[in-house]
């Protein structure tokens, strides 16, 4: 079932000379990047460098001050179910049960009842929450809530999944388990993933390509291919190859921030 046809296809997302400022100063300045169809790209950078802002623009929640975003051949000026998002903070709706949360987008896009049922069942199985389908989010642990969030975003079978530091608030064990599980999910699903994190190791483990972002202004500092083959297991983190790439990137980040912000 592993879907290994992950050679670079046509660019799915093209970011061309993006600028964005909330107030007077630009947070994002001249940011350009091409992301291929079904690629798993991570964007790494210190907090406050504009990662969330960038994802919000791709999602269509913010409009760039200057520059253009292309999704296939259109400009996404509005959020759409072809690009869903997993948020940095807890965004699972507390007033809905687990299954109602997962069903939310399916209802919003008016899928027929039978299809909704099947999709919800499939995703509950995929994220391992079948037994908790009737629970409210307050009854779940942080890791379980993140699983709900991921399932909810994937229910619409988006072409692009935007993930904003989804595992940052979790403890190491839960986090690593979710990383591995999520890689399995991605391997079996034809999705382009843009994964934002401040955790270099996480980015290296998950993605095919890592984009290092600088702060003030936020722009592309370095792009690195990660040649490790998928599917990956956690042990790959201890391999010499992994450590070598990590060392190189740590150096880049140290050079960028005088050793203060990088990890």
């Amino acid at each position: 079932m592993a879907q290994q046809n992950r050679e670079p296809g046509q660019p799915k997302i093209r970011l061309e000379h993006l600028f964005f400022g909330y107030e007077k100063q630009f947070v994002i300045e001249d940011f350009s990047l091409e992301i291929n169809d079904r690629e798993f790209v991570s964007i790494v950078g210190p907090s406050g460098c504009g990662k969330t802002t960038l994802l919000n623009m791709i999602a269509g929640l913010l409009q760039p001050t200057q520059g253009q975003i292309w999704l296939d051949n259109i400009h996404p000026d509005h959020p759409g179910p072809d690009r869903t998002m997993v948020f940095q903070s807890d965004a699972v709706f507390p007033w809905y049960t687990v299954e109602q949360n997962i069903e939310y987008g399916l209802k919003a896009t008016q899928k027929p009842r039978k299809e909704r049922r099947e999709t919800v069942d499939r995703l509950l199985h995929l994220v391992g929450l079948e037994a908790d389908r009737k629970k409210f989010p307050r009854q779940l642990s942080g890791g379980m809530r993140k699983r709900v969030d991921i399932a909810r975003a994937m229910a619409l079978q988006p072409k692009v999944l935007l993930m904003d530091e989804p595992f940052a608030a979790l403890d190491v064990l839960t986090k690593e388990r979710l990383q591995e599980d999520f890689l399995d999910i991605w391997t079996s699903t034809p999705m382009t993933v843009v994964f934002v994190t401040h955790d270099l190791e996480e980015a290296l483990f998950l993605s095919q390509r890592v984009v290092v972002m600088s702060r003030n202004p936020g722009r592309v500092e370095k792009v690195v291919n990660i040649p490790l083959i998928h599917p990956r297991r956690l042990v790959v983190k201890t391999s010499a190859e992994f450590q070598e790439i990590r060392r190189d990137l740590v150096e880049v980040m140290y050079a960028m921030h005088g050793g203060l912000e990088a990890r």
Binding site: N56, A59, G60, L61, P79, G80, P81, R83, T84, M85, F87, S89, D90, A91, F93, P94, W95, Y96, Y104, G105, A108, T109, H125, L126, V127, G128, L129, A131, D132, F136, P137, R138, Q139, L140, S141, G143, M144, R147, R152, A153, L156, L162, L173, T174, R177, D181, D184
Partner: protein
């Protein structure tokens, strides 16, 4: 495919207490109830005792504070009139309250939903909000005459202002993250109102609903004082004309009981529609700090 046994352990209910402990807990619970009831009744009982002492020793003239014994007589005097009066008053108050709550909440929602309507009605709304509704009673009587309609309208107006302001404010406090999530999942404005904003604000409106329920009874009394031929407020005025203080006190108690029951019903409904809220999980020291236990 993917199990999450490491996370499953922190689910509630994973550790059931042994049987012996259950019966112990039950006994403790029963004791807790007794304790609670006796604590709750202490202050009313003390007040009644003071009332008896004060009137027995004739510290206050019976015209101002009749002895408790007279209450029975007052009840017998009013007995035949009470059911009809309670029915009239309750119907009017609850009708006005229901209309006001619905209209106020709707106004708040509409004003948040549409900028045009907000700007259109905003000024009027801002002007009306601080006007003491009681001051409008004479005007209402002048305009609409004496009767049920102006009284219901008055109660509805007082209630709707409270709910309108609270609704608008609650909507502004909806965390943007939920709206962003809904947008990326394909929801439109209408759906966001129905599935995000409404569920989010309901727990925040409960406080205002309870306040306005209490205010409704107050508005009803005032309205009946001004002009009415039936109802509890009208009976109070009647008692006043005949200087029957005990009758007034009795009627006030009836009002209090009605208001108390309304509040209990609202609290009961709240507990059922806000099962999802975080505070339902607060326990121990947290609950004690925020006044839940």
């Amino acid at each position: 495919m993917i199990s999450n046994s490491s996370e499953a352990k922190d689910q509630p209910g994973a550790f059931a207490p042994p049987k012996a402990r259950v019966s112990f807990l039950k006994r403790r619970q029963a004791l807790g109830w007794l304790r609670q009831i006796s604590i709750r009744l202490t202050v009313p009982l003390v007040l009644i005792v003071i009332w008896v002492i004060v009137s027995e020793m004739e510290l206050i003239r019976p015209l101002f504070l009749p002895p408790p014994g007279q209450m029975k007589q007052a009840f017998e005097n009013l007995d035949s009139l009470l059911p009809q009066a309670i029915l009239t008053t309750t119907t009017m108050t609850l009708t006005g309250f229901a209309i006001g709550t619905a209209v106020g909440t709707l106004m708040g929602l509409i004003m948040a939903y549409s900028r045009i309507i907000r700007e259109f009605l905003g000024t009027v709304f801002d002007f009306l909000r601080p006007v003491p509704v009681f001051a409008l009673i004479p005007l209402f009587i002048l305009w609409f005459g004496i009767g049920r309609a102006p009284q219901v309208a008055l109660i509805a107006m007082g209630t709707s202002v409270i709910l309108g302001v609270t609704t608008l404010e609650a909507i502004r406090n909806v965390p943007p993250i939920y709206i962003r999530a809904a947008l990326t999942l394909g929801a439109n404005r209408r759906r966001i109102y129905r599935t995000i904003i409404l569920p989010y604000i309901i727990p925040h409106l409960i406080g205002a609903i309870r306040v306005s329920a209490a205010a409704s009874w107050g508005l009803d009394v005032a309205a009946e004082f001004m002009g009415s031929q039936q109802g509890l407020g009208y009976l109070i005025i009647l008692q006043q004309t005949y200087l029957r203080t005990s009758g007034i006190i009795l009627l006030v108690i009836v009002y209090s009981i009605l208001a108390f029951i309304t509040d209990m019903v609202i609290a009961f409904i709240e507990a059922h529609i806000t099962r999802w809220t975080e505070r339902r999980t607060s326990g121990g020291i947290v609950a004690s700090i925020i006044g839940l236990a």
